[in-house]
């Protein structure tokens, strides 16, 4: 979740910066100082990095959705509400955007963003990315939760129904000389279960 938030906030930051630059404008390095290009390059690099993370998650989510998406609704794993995810992502992304813009302005000697700028540009850049990231997370959490549910269900199954026990049963009768374990310690020591030992 933390990685997705950070990645999404950087993509949103890059989107905002491109929106503010205007359509068709070439990349211009801000300022004229020796290291004045650092801010623009950092925005670009972090934004592209964040986009790469989201793209990778998109591939994983799409692949997993192809597996679970065609299941009947009753068998489809439960998903987290999209609104909750989008709300959490957007709130944190907006906070990251505020801090990042303030730090960049302070580093560049510019005026910090006004509340109006923050609301308008923050929404324009961060909101679409938050919605996209929420969709991704929803798909991913559905798959992860389904996998965890399967593991939990498998762990709770009695050993008697598992095929491995049948093999043990055969093996036990084939090697009767093996020492039987005391009851209640089946899982801690090697050897056949007590109930399978000949009387």
């Amino acid at each position: 979740m933390g990685i997705v938030v950070l990645a999404a906030s950087q993509v949103g930051h890059l989107l905002t910066s491109e929106l503010r630059r205007g359509p068709g404008a070439a990349l211009v390095l801000d300022g004229t100082g020796v290291h004045a290009y650092a801010s623009t390059l950092a925005t670009l690099a972090l934004g592209i990095g964040g986009a790469a993370v989201l793209a990778a998650l998109l591939v994983v989510a799409a692949a997993r959705t192809l597996r679970t998406g065609f299941l009947a609704p009753a068998r489809r794993p439960a998903r987290r509400p999209l609104l909750d995810l989008a709300a959490a992502l957007f709130a944190v992304q907006l906070a990251v955007y505020l801090v990042q813009e303030t730090l960049e302005a302070a580093a560049g000697g510019a005026r910090p963003l006004s509340p109006g700028d923050l609301i308008l540009w923050g929404c324009a850049g961060q909101l679409p990315v938050a919605l996209l990231a929420a969709l991704l997370l929803r798909w991913l959490t559905a798959s992860v939760e389904a996998a965890v549910a399967e593991l939990v269900a498998a762990a709770g199954q009695p050993l008697a129904t598992g095929p491995a026990l049948c093999a043990t049963r055969t093996w036990t009768f084939a090697r009767p000389a093996l020492r039987c374990r005391p009851a209640g310690r089946q899982r801690s020591e090697r050897g056949p279960p007590t109930l399978l030992c000949p009387a």
Binding site: G22, A87, F90, G116, A124, L127, A130
Partner: protein, 460 residues
């Protein structure tokens, strides 16, 4: 709207920096939170939202009187007719046409604030229920169709959003003929809905203003009760704001409606800030291919973005409240319950934002009464009336705005505290749940004041 937009005259030079005002206002909200935590009731469950009310038999008699209903309904119909006639036949200049004043100042700003102060006045002045009653001779025939299950107030929310976009984004809201035409169109939609789905059923689900005033009216001190046939059965007086603690059906339709009230008012304020000018110019480059539609599209985008942002941030904070309050599940019930505690903020923001319209611009209707259609008539001796600026000095406006905004947020903090007592198991959990709400209130107070300060003060 171009009616002397924010006509404050010279901008006001604040005696201290704007930031100090913002911090002070936020401080008052924090202190009020502490006071509420210490002195307010720590009851939980149903008892937490119980409030005293006093029967008002005099108001019940007045409310039941058919003569009173005929007079108020008649006034509503007359105003609607005045908007249509003067809008279509009068001077096509918003400043010289009564339709603009009646719609945007007396109805949209004045009646909303008055309903918050007094109670739901729309039930009395609603012109469409009056026309319906007249057309059916008060017989109230049954509905021909039933609204689908789960309709909620979604139709009303959609119509409200369209109305807001017309006001703030279309760019034609100051054209009287357009206002009059849309008033006719809306009347047709509403009356058709009432004939198809029922006199009370359609307005409660699909008439934006009925739903809006039912929400705003909950803040007022007059509480009414009606039977299944819509007849008034009881009238009580209650403390201001407590009506918002009444039980409300949980639903995203209600949450979106309340958030839309807040977001539209904030967007109206943002339009007057330098930040919007910058946003508008920059985004204009992206949509310049749309020609004359570029401005409405940019504004619509801004409004939708703000609505989505307000909704998401509110949901995020309610999630935090649930976490701090140790409650699991039933998120929608909690979201709906706390959404209504935001209504005082919407109400005071409306009053603060429209203060100059109500105290100054509203007076400009008086000389127009002498010649409403601009034909050189002298129907009343009011043509020479000059609006007074007595209540509209920039300093007065600024301090009124501060008082209103802080007051609204303090009331919201108090109501949220009581609501938390109802929603969470123990008083301690309820108090813990309110820390995120406090942060939200502080942020909202500072942002609201910053927005309001922009056109008023030099410091803005």
């Amino acid at each position: 709207m171009n009616l002397y937009l924010h006509a404050f005259g010279p901008r006001y030079d604040l005696p201290i920096s704007l930031a100090l005002y913002l911090y002070a206002a936020a401080g008052v909200v924090v202190v009020s939170f502490v006071m509420v935590a210490i002195f307010a009731s720590d009851k939980t469950g149903e008892r937490a939202v119980h409030y005293p009310r006093l029967a008002a038999p005099f108001l019940l008699a007045v409310g039941r009187s058919p003569v009173f209903r005929a007079i108020t309904g008649g006034i509503g119909v007359l105003v609607l007719l005045a908007v249509v006639v003067t809008g279509l036949l009068g001077v096509q200049n918003a400043l010289q046409n009564p339709a603009s004043y009646l719609t945007w100042i007396y109805f949209w700003a004045g009646l909303v604030i008055l309903s918050g102060l007094v109670g739901n006045l729309w039930t009395l002045f609603n012109p469409w229920t009056a026309i319906y009653d007249l057309a059916t001779l008060g017989r109230r025939p049954g509905p021909r169709f039933r609204l689908p299950e789960g309709t909620g107030v979604w139709p009303a929310a959609v119509l409200y959003l369209l109305f807001v976009l017309f006001e703030l984004a279309s760019g034609v809201a100051s054209q009287p003929a357009v206002v009059a035409t849309l008033a006719i169109l809306y009347s047709v939609i509403t009356l058709t809905g009432m004939f198809l789905f029922g006199r009370d059923e359609w307005p409660q689900h699909g008439e934006a203003f009925t739903v809006l005033f039912s929400v705003i009216g909950r803040f007022g001190p007059v509480e009414t009760e009606r039977d299944d046939r819509g007849r008034l059965t009881g009238v009580w007086l209650r403390p201001w704001g407590t009506g918002l603690l009444q039980r409300q059906r949980a639903g995203w339709d209600w949450v979106v409606f309340v958030i839309l009230m807040l977001a539209s008012l904030a967007f109206d304020g943002i339009l007057a800030t330098p930040a919007w000018q910058s946003f508008d110019v920059t985004m204009g480059h992206w949509v310049q291919g749309l020609g004359t539609l570029a401005e409405p599209v940019t504004r619509t985008l801004g409004m939708v973005l703000l609505l989505a942002a307000f909704l998401l941030i509110f949901v995020a904070f309610v999630r935090l409240m649930l976490y701090f309050g140790g409650r699991r599940g039933e998120e929608l019930t909690v979201v709906t319950a706390f959404a209504l505690t935001l209504v005082p903020i919407a109400l005071v923001y409306n009053a603060a934002h429209n203060y100059s319209y109500l105290t100054y611009n509203a007076q400009s209707l008086i000389p127009l009464l002498a010649d409403p259609l601009g034909r050189g008539w002298h129907l009343l001796p009011t043509a020479a009336y000059q609006p007074s600026l007595a209540l509209n000095a920039a300093a007065t406006v600024w301090y009124m705005q501060i008082i209103l905004i802080v007051l609204g947020h303090v009331i919201a903090v108090y109501l949220a505290h009581l609501r938390a007592g109802e929603q969470f198991r123990t008083a301690q959990k309820a108090l813990l749940s309110q820390y995120p709400m406090l942060v939200l209130m502080v942020l909202y107070t500072m942002t609201s004041l910053w927005i309001l300060a922009q056109p008023t003060t030099k410091g803005g």
